[in-house]
């Protein structure tokens, strides 16, 4: 990855609903964490329209992104177990057949695999919540 533009990272984090963000580049590593009070304040201060509009501009400037949607109805999990680390984070790169998430349906954990190698640009569904058929789960960039 190229050297990070700190200003851009900070502004993206500010406008996101993420509580933590860790990014590495050849020169340095950046860890961002929001305190719980800040998180509560951050949500209303980031209007929906702004969040939705934000990815539009960089998407045009950068490479095209694609959306991975849910193939079934179920509960969306980013981690294989409650205390386990997530399969993917924003910025992770995965190979084809790598697991992206699990979707629980009728007590069965269905692992969703990537169809192609890609970088996770954004996680679009809320972990541990219900997802419908066709609901966007990840915004990714093919690599």
């Amino acid at each position: 990855m190229d050297t990070l533009n700190l200003e851009q990272v900070l502004s993206l984090f500010d406008n996101s609903t993420l509580s933590e963000l860790e990014l590495s580049c050849p020169t340095y590593t950046i860890k961002l964490k929001r305190s719980s009070t800040e998180q509560i304040q951050a949500k209303p201060s980031a209007p929906v329209a702004k969040v939705a509009a934000a990815p539009e501009k960089p998407a045009k400037a950068e490479e095209k992104t694609e959306i991975i949607t849910s193939p079934i109805v179920g509960t969306f999990y980013l981690t294989p177990a409650p205390d386990a680390p997530p399969y993917v984070r924003v910025g992770s790169t995965v190979q084809a057949k790598d697991v992206l998430c699990t979707i629980e349906a009728m007590k069965l954990m269905n692992q969703l695999e990537a169809d192609y190698a890609c970088e996770i640009v954004e996680i679009l569904a809320k972990p541990e919540s219900m997802v419908e058929f066709g609901q966007p789960l990840f915004k990714v960039k093919r690599i």
Binding site: I72, V73, G74, T75, A105, M106, M130, E132, F133, G134, Q135
Partner: protein
């Protein structure tokens, strides 16, 4: 108590169930396919869940997605509507196993009635008349002659392993039997790999009648009279009316009593229909539809019952507090199905209104009639004190209909309703062929 229902269906029937939920103060969650995202049921529902892409196998027949959606949306019950999973015993069982209420009969009842042989046995056991016929395969010509003379000509030979109208031969007199039997055997062997054939009485001009029933599964069974569904095209019903113009009071009572008896024997729970073929003064059990039917509004209008509401209340465990003498059937009701003959965007959509007219639809101007599903556009149902008045009301209603953008059967329906045989009430299931095909020849 049911506080929330997932509706696993689409179109006008999903709208119908949403409205019943609204009346009962129940939260309605509609499960829909991607092709139906903009339909009326989704708009009217309290919540909606996308359960799959347009093809029915992956959406409206995807029991797993439907049940998971019901659980995650915290629904107490699933209403299957008509068609799709409504008569699927495995689905009803899976719903029960997931701890949800299936709004319909018990899964065992659905399984039993879904098997034609078992259903016939149950009807026989309850003392219902079934089409006379040989129960076993015909062994040889002598056996065939004996059976046919007992049944009475004309008879029809059917491939025992067959279906879909193949391998069937109509025999009108004994001299034709030998050749027909040989041919039927040959066809049966060819199509189904089994040359066994059996024999049934052939009904030349049967009427298709059905009795609507409501049963609480606790011993109380009520009938809401009959619907005459004899106007059909390729076995698809076009017009349904109640009361039937040809049924005598004694025949009606016999059919209703038999149907009630069958449901009592079955320990049936919910709304259901017993279908019969009627010819002259004889009637024969055909099958049970263990679900709500498309034409249920006809019975609602003559009985003042709300069948969907009753289904939900019975599913909640409520007993029917009425007895048969409290059921007052009055007046005449007729349903006319407006079907699409092509799919596409509906550019103009005007439905009738005014006295005595009810319209059940899910479409409006700008809607798309999807090529993926049933072509039903709207059900126009009228009520009037008499059949004569009812037919004029229906003609007035149909004259107000305007649908542009897709082809429909509206003109055919107008022809049928105005035709001499229909107004006289004397016709068989071949009315469509007689009236509409005749018209096409002249045109």
């Amino acid at each position: 108590m049911i506080g929330s229902i997932l509706i696993a269906n689409r179109g006008e029937i999903a709208v119908r169930v949403v409205r019943a939920c609204r009346d009962l103060g129940i939260r309605a969650v509609v499960a829909y396919s991607q092709a139906d995202a903009d339909t009326l049921a989704v708009k009217l529902a309290d919540e909606a869940v996308c359960i799959g892409p347009a093809p029915t196998q992956e959406s409206y027949l995807n029991s797993k997605n439907i049940i998971v959606a019901a659980c995650l949306k915290r629904c107490d019950a699933i209403h299957p509507g008509v068609g799709f999973l409504s008569e699927n015993a495995a689905f009803a069982k899976a719903v029960e196993d997931a701890g949800l209420i299936f709004i319909g009969p018990k899964s065992e009842t659905i399984a039993l009635l879904g098997n034609k042989v078992e259903a016939r046995k149950a009807a026989l056991a309850a003392g219902l008349p079934i089409t006379p016929g040989s129960k076993e395969a015909i062994t040889d010509l002598a056996d065939g002659k004996l059976n046919a003379s007992q049944i009475g000509y004309p008879i029809i030979l059917k491939a025992s392993s067959g279906g879909g109208g193949r391998g069937m031969r109509i025999v009108r007199k004994e001299s034709e039997l030998e050749a027909a039997l040989a041919l039927a055997r040959k066809e049966a062997k060819l199509f189904f790999g089994d040359d066994a054939v059996h024999m049934e009485r052939f009904l030349e001009q049967p009427r298709h009648l059905e009795i609507q029933l409501l049963s609480d599964g606790k011993g109380t069974v009520l009938h809401l009279g009959e619907r005459d569904c004899s106007v059909q095209k390729n076995h698809q019903k076009l017009l349904e009316e109640s009361p039937s113009p040809i049924l005598s009071e004694s025949l009606r009572s016999a059919m209703c009593e038999d149907s009630v008896k069958l449901f009592q024997e079955l320990g049936y729970r919910g709304a259901g229909t017993v279908e019969y073929l009627v010819e002259g003064s004889s009637y024969y059990f055909m099958e049970v539809n263990a679900r709500l039917q498309v034409e249920h509004p006809v019975s609602e209008l003559v009985s003042s019952f709300d069948l969907v509401r009753a289904q939900i209340e019975i599913a909640q465990g409520k007993s029917l507090s009425l007895s048969q003498k409290d059921v007052q059937l009055s007046g005449y009701a007729l349903e006319c199905r407006i079907n699409g003959l092509s799919a596409g965007r509906i550019e103009k959509f005007v439905m009738p209104s005014g006295p005595h007219v009810r319209v059940d639809t899910y479409l409006e101007t700008g809607s798309v009639l999807s090529p993926y599903y049933d072509s039903l556009i709207a059900k126009i149902i009228i009520w009037a004190p008499s059949r004569e008045q009812g037919l004029s009301v229906m003609q007035r209603a149909l004259a107000e209909v305007e649908i542009e953008g897709v082809k429909t059967n509206l003109e055919e329906q107008k022809l049928l309703i105005a035709s001499r045989p229909f107004t006289s009430g004397r016709f068989g299931t071949d009315l469509y062929a007689k009236v509409c095909d005749q018209e096409k020849k002249h045109a």
